[in-house]
């Protein structure tokens, strides 16, 4: 495990992005805004997991990122189908 300076900068920028999404989640006037914010956070999280896997230098950790890439959108689709009264 080797943490470079670039990795720390990347993690800081990603943290700032997640904080912005969190503020939108707290503020957003309607439920749709909040759903969009959480969907964005889940995409950012997938990229973050791959980056952390490269920092830890563990190949098998990529499976978790694959689970994120495949599954997190189902929650957003469920919320969307509720909002349009489709479920």
């Amino acid at each position: 495990m080797a943490v470079n300076t670039s990795d720390i900068v990347f993690l800081a920028i990603i943290s700032a992005g997640i904080v912005l999404c969190l503020l939108r989640m707290l503020k957003g006037p309607t439920a749709s805004d909040r759903a969009v914010a959480v969907d964005t956070v889940s995409t950012i999280t997938t990229a973050l997991l791959v980056l952390l896997g490269s920092i830890f230098e563990r190949y098998v950790y990529l499976d978790v990122a694959l689970v994120y890439a495949v599954l997190t959108f189902i929650g957003s689709v469920a919320i969307a189908r509720f909002l349009e009264k489709g479920i």
Partner: protein
């Protein structure tokens, strides 16, 4: 280490938001955010099995089951 505390703070804020929101759908969305942060924490603690279970169950199945429950009751808390 700072990153771990940042994640704990994120979980805390999202959980408080989930308990404060009057709109139950917004509360479910905040709960999803809690489970995302918890999964990254498990990942950082070198427990990929638990992180995978948290991701698979917390992200999709729990949200859907909460929503199916809300569909039969009221959406706004009084």
């Amino acid at each position: 280490m700072i990153f771990v505390f940042f994640l704990i703070l994120l979980m805390l804020v999202a959980a408080i938001a989930a308990s404060v929101f009057r709109d139950l759908i917004s509360a479910v969305i905040a709960t999803t955010l809690v489970s995302l942060a918890a999964s990254i924490l498990f990942y950082l603690l070198a427990a990929p099995d638990v992180a995978m279970a948290e991701a698979a169950i917390g992200a999709a199945l729990t949200t859907a089951i909460f929503i199916i429950a809300i569909r039969r009751t009221k959406r706004y808390e009084e």
